[in-house]
């Protein structure tokens, strides 16, 4: 009596679950997700019993993000507001030492140029020889002597090319940063480089074999006995990237899940579908040593749609923050 009741209860419960998940994903968009309920034994129990009865095989994936390296450009309203704020602050401020000095110097100059100027009147005891304007010039010179790395890549190279073509001579500007030509241009368009789009945060995608086909997705690996899911995610990252890549995993808890059912042909006794748990990691500073083992892509959140499957995309979109 109790057993059939429990079965019916679990069936209706799983139906309810499927209904909820199907509404969340979108009925027409999912390719592999079917609505048939799954008959399960009691959810509580030891790991061995759990894993034995559960039809889902576990996988862990890593969502590795390269955070922005430079500050983003201001949007038009931000630009206007910034200017207005600077103007208002200038109006409310007091006159600084430097400005006072400039005013004094201007006065002195005007006095000197006046007709009735007597240089003996002026007390020249301990006056500085350096005029304020000269000071400003030295400061500007020091700033110019320093060459920061270019913020906007590609344009510098194009500018150089134009100069070289027009003059027909080597450009005299020597920069302390000697980057090869190919590195400057199209860095933003080179999807496999981690140095593209320095103002945005990028996510790592790898092309992996899933079932019969190759798909672009967050690097994942199957869970093995005796390890936690986070260790599985770390293994997935190591298998896909080069050895020198350092990433900090943010905690032991997964940030998202994507579950799908295998096509009927691939289903076995033990696994009807797969659950992929995502873990977040942040790419630490450092140049990767060797080339990666699998084809990799660094994409912005807006570009994710072109590479990921729709059902997968909706789940992954939620925890990738573009803040």
């Amino acid at each position: 009596m109790a057993a059939p009741c429990r079965k019916m209860a679990s069936r209706s419960f799983s139906r309810l679950l499927c209904y909820f998940s199907s509404t969340a994903v979108g009925s027409g968009a999912c390719r592999r997700f079917s609505v048939t309920p799954i008959d399960r034994a009691t959810p509580l129990g030891s790991t061995a019993a759990d894993r034995a009865t559960s039809p889902w095989s576990l996988m862990a994936a890593v969502c590795l993000q390269r955070l922005p390296v430079i500050s983003a450009d201001c949007s038009p309203i931000e630009q206007r507001f910034k200017q207005m704020l600077q103007q208002m602050e200038l109006e409310k401020s007091l006159v600084s030492d430097h400005e006072l000095r400039l005013l004094e110097d201007a006065e002195k100059m005007s006095r000197r140029q006046a007709a009735d100027y007597d240089s003996d009147e002026e007390d020249r005891g301990d006056q500085e020889i350096m005029m304020t304007q000269d000071l400003e010039d030295t400061w500007e010179q020091r700033l110019k002597n320093f060459h920061p790395a270019p913020r906007v890549r590609g344009q510098w190279r194009r500018g150089l090319v134009k100069v070289r073509k027009s003059l027909g001579v080597k450009s005299t500007r020597t920069s302390p940063v000697s980057l090869p030509y190919s590195c400057l241009a199209d860095v933003d368009e080179d999807l496999s480089s981690a140095q593209r789009c320095l103002a945005d945060s990028l996510v790592l995608l790898a092309e992996q074999q899933v079932g019969a086909e190759k798909l672009w997705l967050l690097p994942q690996a199957a869970w093995q006995e005796g390890e936690t899911l986070r260790q599985t995610a770390e293994r997935a990252l190591d298998s896909v990237t080069a050895a020198g890549v350092k990433a900090t995993f943010l905690g032991n808890a997964p940030c998202g899940v994507y579950k799908y059912k295998l096509p009927k042909a691939a289903r076995t006794e033990g696994s009807v579908g797969r659950k992929v748990f995502f873990f977040k990691a942040i790419l630490a500073d450092g140049a990767p040593g060797s080339a990666p083992t699998a084809p990799l892509l660094w994409v912005k959140k807006s570009e994710l749609q072109e590479y990921l499957k729709p059902a997968y995309m909706t789940k992954v979109d939620r925890f990738i923050l573009n803040l």
Partner: protein
């Protein structure tokens, strides 16, 4: 009571001393030197008089009295609440109150003030939208995590418990945030100069400058040193500067020009 007794004893002593002085007469000043002891005094010095040495009793008492008086004074001083060290930043320097530095506020035209007001409103709307979008994004992420944990719980209790354990190695986590320009590869930053001083109240004040002239505030003592020396000072325990005021750090770091509006 003990003070009264001691005072009586003192009185007795002084009277005895007075009487002995009368006997010694004019030779009194010479009595103190051990090399010269006139015959007259020998007869009247304390050991010959066979008087018991009362100094021994009174001296410890006298010392005790002195100590007690000092302790009372200390207690009185301690009862007074300690004076607070003034926070230098909260005191408006006299330079700012100078009248010659006041700027004449310009008169704004009607259009200008209107445009400013409208821009402020637009800005507040823009910021509000930004904030709501952020809050929404965070809520979505939290929901996704909750769902993931529920699914994991359904799968296996042990893995769920492992996921809930906090990671002790994660914090403290630091990440150098976005600067205005990207880092120059293999850049060797030149060192600046460090100036370590001590303020009137005894705590240390340090400033790291690039070698520009430093004006010494009254009551401060300054000591110039190289940046490396200053950094090594910081690592020693017990020699930490209490208040650190870093002015413009012109030490050119590989992350150039921190994000600022210009």
């Amino acid at each position: 009571m003990s003070s009264v007794v001691s005072r009586c004893i003192f009185g007795v002593l002084s009277r005895q001393a007075a009487t002995s002085r009368l006997f010694l007469g004019e030779c009194n000043p010479a009595v103190q030197s051990p090399w010269f002891s006139p015959v007259a005094t020998l007869k009247t010095s304390a050991p010959l008089r066979a008087e018991p040495k009362k100094k021994k009793k009174v001296d410890p008492r006298r010392e005790l009295m002195v100590r007690e008086r000092l302790k009372k004074k200390l207690k009185k001083l301690e009862r007074v609440p300690p004076e607070f060290i003034p926070i230098e930043d909260f005191i408006t320097p006299a330079k700012c109150l100078d009248e010659t530095r006041v700027r004449i506020p310009p008169t704004l035209s009607f259009e200008e003030s209107e445009s400013r007001a409208l821009l402020l409103k637009e800005w507040s709307r823009y910021k509000q939208e930004q904030h709501m979008a952020e809050v929404e994004a965070i809520e979505l992420a939290l929901e996704a995590q909750k769902e993931a944990l529920e699914e994991l719980k359904m799968e296996s209790e042990e893995l769920y418990r492992a996921a809930l354990t906090p990671d002790p190695l994660l914090l403290p986590f630091t990440h150098e945030g976005p600067a205005y320009t990207p880092p120059i590869p293999n850049y060797d930053a030149p060192d600046g100069k460090a100036i370590v001083g001590s303020s009137q109240h005894g705590h240390r004040v340090a400033a790291v400058l690039s070698g520009e002239a430093v004006r010494k505030a009254p009551g401060h003592r300054i000591k110039r040193m190289e940046t490396q020396q200053y950094l090594s000072l910081q690592k020693k325990p017990g020699k930490q500067p209490v208040a650190l005021q870093t002015f413009r750090i012109l030490r050119l770091h590989r992350w150039q020009l921190p994000t600022h509006s210009d």
